[in-house]
């Protein structure tokens, strides 16, 4: 398979890169100075693209690679891939579901605890060396708080399971109601937002869910509401969120994703009720290896004409 051209969209994982280099003819797109010239030169040899949450395969790239057979994403989200175009051209698409579900759900709960219990602020306070006897920091209890989940897929269900262990009543909004799920369903996000203490975004990014967290939803959450986003940055109308937090119209936020990563609105830097993470939802040694193995396994299966492990298209 060493002659098969594989285009890696951006740096994502040293182990994956190494293995792709060993098994295929790997092209590192981020190292190419003249991208369109490159694509023209290699249009006949690139048969696979490996993308992730930052960069995938849009219509232009797909058009430029007539021999493209498969797009394997090092992510579960598919928003950076033009799925319709892939379907049209018979290009297979795979992602990395299940292996990262637990890590993302763990992170959602971690953000809830970090915001409510002021974990980062407490740590900063002790590190400042200013802790004196008789100085106390009051925080908000997490156990028993109402958790509202947008998107009750694998990750949403995993978040619900964890929050239940803290006796949190669970409610959700999803495209369709899930009768097997014993949680309260709300037919729209504003109603969900008005009836929970912590709102967490765990759905996929599509045309419909872009800016699903908007001014109306933020208003419904109110000045004690806490927003957690472990989905995609564009799920949230970021300028609206920033002004709500700065003006105290929203109680707090825990954000792992942003509209223009790695740019993060600087107005949020000074807010102690906001916890900001650099898109680390699946960022553990164990899970990234599992994700990489899944990408490699899918590519291998495809080129050996075996069934794909985790096909989407």
């Amino acid at each position: 398979m060493e002659s098969i051209g594989v285009l890696m969209a951006c740096p994502m994982n040293p182990y994956l890169e190494q293995e792709l280099h060993k098994r295929f003819n790997l092209h590192r797109f981020w190292k190419v100075p003249e991208k369109s010239a490159f694509l023209t030169a290699h249009s006949n040899s690139i048969r696979a693209v490996v993308g992730n949450a930052s960069a995938g395969a849009d219509a232009n790239l797909i058009e430029a690679l007539p021999k493209l057979e498969i797009v394997a994403s090092f992510s579960v989200g598919l928003d950076k891939i033009d799925l319709a175009k892939c379907k049209e051209k018979g290009i297979r698409v795979t992602n990395t579901p299940d292996v990262l579900t637990e890590d993302v759900a763990d992170l959602a709960i971690a953000l809830m605890l970090a915001v409510l219990r002021k974990l980062c602020e407490s740590d900063r306070y002790v590190r400042s060396g200013k802790w004196k006897k008789g100085k106390y920091m009051l925080t908000t209890k997490f156990t028993g708080k109402r958790v509202g989940i947008i998107g009750l897929g694998r990750i949403g269900m995993a978040i619900a399971k964890r929050a239940e262990a803290f006796s949190c009543p669970i409610s959700y909004h999803s495209r369709t109601e899930k009768p097997e799920a014993k949680y309260k369903y709300y037919p729209n996000v504003v109603e969900l937002a008005a009836n929970c203490d912590i709102l967490v975004v765990a759905c996929s990014l599509t045309e419909e869910t872009r800016h699903i967290i908007n001014r109306k939803v933020i208003d419904a959450m109110g000045p004690k509401g806490v927003l957690i986003n472990v989905g995609r940055g564009p799920h949230v109308d970021e300028p609206e969120l920033v002004s709500a937090l700065v003006e105290g119209r929203l109680g707090g936020a825990g954000l792992d994703v942003f509209e223009h990563e790695p740019e993060v609105p600087e107005e949020l830097f000074g807010l102690d009720n906001v916890v900001l993470l650099p898109h680390v939802g699946s960022g553990t040694v164990e899970t990234r290896k599992a994700m990489a193995d899944l990408v490699l396994g899918n590519l291998e299966a495809h080129f050996l004409k075996k069934p794909l492990l985790t096909p989407v298209v």
Binding site: P11, D106, I109, L119, R162, V264, F269, L277
Partner: protein, 339 residues
């Protein structure tokens, strides 16, 4: 005039509760936070008299004491108060009360019971995920603008599937176990006695527990036996992939040894709400990104204080009405803490 005299008389009829030093809730909510119309407080800290003189003066009126971590009840104090029948502490911990003296004198003790257990357990989970997933460190990274300039943040470690070892499977330990099971962790524990109803693996000593877990959680009381329970041997058994979380009492861990292990990378990380010499914290820890610290505030939530107020006042009111205490501590089977 007559009315004033009357109210003064009824005020002095109220039973007296002694407070040696104000509890943390007074600093946060003012010193009428735990008031009740059914009893009054004698605030020793407001008197110009030296304590022994103050106690001598009021010896016959003091039936009960409101204690907290910073206002210990020693045998000396107890011996100066012949009418003392009850100590209510605002904490779950009891290491600041001379329990054997209370037992001898037949003095009842009431604590915060289990009202803080959920908050403590939540702190444990928060600290553990923070250490493994580098939440506080990554938050610092982003807020310093380093994500856009320096790029990708180092990977953390997955919580799911980790083996959790709980030292002390009491109320807090049980709440911790329940939560971490939902994250896919396996639970084992060491306790003074095996708990036959607990569905978790029991290890007869802490070294064995440490050797068989990835995260060691300290949830036990501080007593003579548990002082420096977590020592060099235990930390070595825990190993370089192990994390330790302490929300119990600082002196349960040999802090010098812990700091040495962390600085040398001999354990993976630590989450600490308590320290041997609070509020002094070893400065070596300030340099470490794999350590997450909090200023002994694991129970400091608005909600818990509301619950505490009801419980403390409720305990005193029950006592003075000859009704059963709401959260009595059983003194018969308690181990010693000689301070």
């Amino acid at each position: 005039m007559a009315a004033e005299n009357q109210s003064q008389t009824s005020q002095s009829d109220l039973p007296c509760v002694l407070i040696l030093k104000p509890p943390p809730s007074f600093a946060l909510f003012g010193d009428h936070f735990l008031d009740s119309p059914k009893f009054q407080y004698l605030k020793a800290y407001e008197s110009p008299l030296p304590l022994s003189q103050f106690l001598h003066t009021h010896a016959q009126s003091v039936q009960a004491i409101l204690s907290s971590g910073g206002a210990p009840v020693t045998a000396d104090t107890i011996r100066l108060l012949p009418r003392l029948d009850l100590v209510v502490t605002t904490s779950q911990g009891l290491n600041h009360i001379d329990l054997s003296e209370c037992r001898c004198r037949g003095i009842a003790v009431a604590s915060a019971g289990t009202i803080f257990s959920a908050d403590c357990a939540d702190s444990v989970v928060g600290l553990l995920i923070d250490v493994l997933r580098k939440i506080s460190a990554a938050n610092r990274y982003v807020k310093q603008g380093l994500w856009s300039s320096q790029g990708v943040y180092p990977l953390g470690y997955k919580l799911g599937g980790k083996r959790v070892g709980i030292v002390g499977l009491g109320s807090i330990g049980t709440e911790v176990a329940k939560r971490l099971e939902a994250f896919g962790c396996s639970i084992s524990y060491n306790s003074r006695t095996k708990k036959p109803l607990a569905p978790y693996t029991f290890y007869p000593n802490v070294v064995q527990l440490a050797a068989n877990c990835d995260a060691l959680i300290i949830c036990c009381a501080l007593t003579d036996e548990t002082h420096h329970l977590i020592n060099k041997e235990v930390l070595s058994a825990l190993g370089k992939d192990g994390v330790i979380i302490n929300i119990a009492r600082g002196p349960i861990i040999d802090e010098k040894e812990l700091v040495r292990c962390l600085v040398k990378g001999e354990i993976r990380g630590a989450g600490l709400d308590v320290f041997e010499h609070e509020p002094d914290v070893p400065v070596e820890l300030f340099e470490l990104d794999n350590v997450v610290m909090s200023p002994h505030n694991a129970v400091f939530t608005w909600e818990s204080f509301e619950d505490l107020c009801k419980l403390v006042v409720g305990n005193f009111e029950a006592f003075f009405s000859n009704e059963p205490l709401l959260s009595p501590v059983a003194l018969d089977h308690l181990p010693q803490f000689s301070g």
